[in-house]
């Protein structure tokens, strides 16, 4: 790309804010059939925890240290439960980075490697584990956010190579549930309307529920996954408010209650 093209893009960037509230273009709306048939992929349809935190960081300066959770057990008897927990631990990594807690980042890196081994993806992310430690020791927090996203994608890539497609959905689900638990907990303590509006994510739950429904029976019947399937409709209801409405403090508390109860089930040793 030439410097002229770069300059042109910079100018466009400067004009972006001005265009945000401009007149809608004179284009035909998309039909319901087109919307229903729209492509949905894990990589683009599901936002990264970093996107949610970027939005929340604009509202205030959250104390992320208070959202770090005590260590969870790493000995689970089923791969489905391991995958759910792997996703939630990657979300913990984002929290540790936001809290700028180097030791916690290293702990999370070690936990990821521990869970990756029985899921047969450890070899693929071994170097990522080392990078996480190095970046944490040097306080490279921005790079660490990218590193956690890359780690999660490499885990999913390795699972796809191993024909463990159903586990990918569980990693995404674990990360999303943990992320929602943390944000709702934070908002419960520091309620703001702008923050509460960020909880509106109906399509994400719908997508993940549909993916879960397509999973093999063996996965769907796993005790922890059964609990997730039972709780997701309630969580979906809590994040499906109209776009011009704001959930009040009680609604935020309810979402926290739902997600933290489910997270406890997910991280419970030997779920029955």
């Amino acid at each position: 790309m030439t410097w002229i093209q770069r300059a042109a893009i910079c100018l466009i960037g400067a004009g972006l804010r001005a265009a945000l509230h401009g007149e809608p273009p004179d284009a035909a709306p998309l039909s319901e059939e087109v919307l229903a048939a729209a492509i949905r992929t894990d990589q683009l349809t599901i936002p990264s925890p970093g996107e949610l935190m970027a939005a929340l960081n604009k509202i205030g300066k959250p104390d992320w240290t208070g959202e770090i959770r005590p260590p969870v057990p790493m000995t689970f008897s089923t791969r489905a439960q391991m995958a759910l927990n792997l996703g939630s631990i990657v979300a913990d990594g984002y929290i540790a980075v936001e809290a700028e807690d180097a030791q916690q980042v290293k702990n999370v890196g070690a936990d990821i490697l521990n869970l990756a081994k029985p899921l047969s993806v450890q070899q693929d992310i071994f170097n990522r584990g080392k990078s996480l430690t190095e970046f944490a020791e040097h306080g490279q927090w921005d790079t660490l956010k990218e590193e956690f996203e890359c780690t999660q994608n490499e885990v999913k890539g390795a699972m796809a190579d191993n024909k463990d497609q159903d586990l990918i959905t569980l990693v995404t689900l674990g990360g999303w549930i943990r992320g929602t638990e943390v944000i709702s907990h934070f908002l419960m303590k520091h309620y703001s309307e702008a923050g509460a509006k960020l909880l509106r994510q109906p399509a994400i739950v719908a997508y993940l529920s549909a993916r879960l429904q397509e999973s093999p029976e063996k996965v769907r019947d796993n005790p922890t996954v059964r609990q997730v399937r039972a709780d997701l409709p309630k969580i979906q209801l809590a994040v499906s408010f109209p776009r011009d409405e704001t959930p009040n403090l009680e609604a935020v508390k309810n979402l926290y209650k739902l997600t933290s109860a489910l997270m406890n089930e997910i991280s419970k040793k030997d779920a029955k």
């Binding site: 790309m1 770069r6 042109a8 893009i9 466009i12 960037g13 972006l16 265009a19 945000l20 401009g22 809608p24 273009p25 004179d26 284009a27 709306p29 998309l30 039909s31 319901e32 087109v34 919307l35 048939a37 729209a38 492509i39 949905r40 992929t41 894990d42 990589q43 683009l44 349809t45 599901i46 936002p47 990264s48 970093g50 996107e51 949610l52 970027a54 939005a55 604009k58 509202i59 921005d142 790079t143 990218e146 996203e149 890359c150 994608n153 490499e154 999913k156 890539g157 390795a158 796809a160 190579d161 702008a194 509006k197 960020l198 509106r200 994510q201 109906p202 399509a203 994400i204 776009r243």
Partner: protein, 144 residues
């Protein structure tokens, strides 16, 4: 520092193991084009998502992808293509399918759209080839 970081992101994405295993040459070419456009936004503080969508389709047969965005963030969607595509465009729609204002950018075989959602939730990104032959497209996005 920023150009160095951009280089590493660019390099990391190009050597991503899953990309290596699964992507065709055309997808790699299209992705390189999308990354070239997105690189400029990265230098402006936008973070590039480590994920993309790629597909091959014909002119005037647009593809629509659902994304979930957060109010308060700014987004740039970037698309790159193989040589067959001459004119491409990206447009954004709300969850009801209504077209939304966005900041367009286009050059031969590449396009981008800047958008900042007023409300959190689902949106739809339409990728369209307006002129050219069947081509491979790659879409990715950045945020800040």
């Amino acid at each position: 520092m920023k150009p160095i970081r951009t280089f590493f992101i660019y390099a990391a994405l190009l050597i991503h193991p899953t990309a290596r295993a699964a992507d065709s040459d055309d997808e790699v070419t299209a992705r390189r084009g999308a990354l070239a456009v997105a690189g400029a936004f990265t230098n402006d503080g936008f973070k590039l998502r480590d994920g993309h969508w790629a597909a091959r389709f014909d002119a005037h047969k647009p593809q629509v992808i659902q994304v979930n965005l957060y109010a308060g963030n700014q987004y740039w969607f970037s698309v790159g293509t193989t040589d067959q595509a001459q004119e491409v465009a990206i447009s954004i729609y709300d969850e009801k399918g209504r077209p939304l204002a966005s900041e367009p950018y286009a050059e031969e075989g590449k396009a981008a759209a800047g958008f900042s959602p007023a409300a959190s939730g689902p949106y739809y990104v339409k990728v369209e080839e307006k002129k050219g032959g069947p081509a491979t497209f790659c879409l990715l996005y950045s945020y800040k």
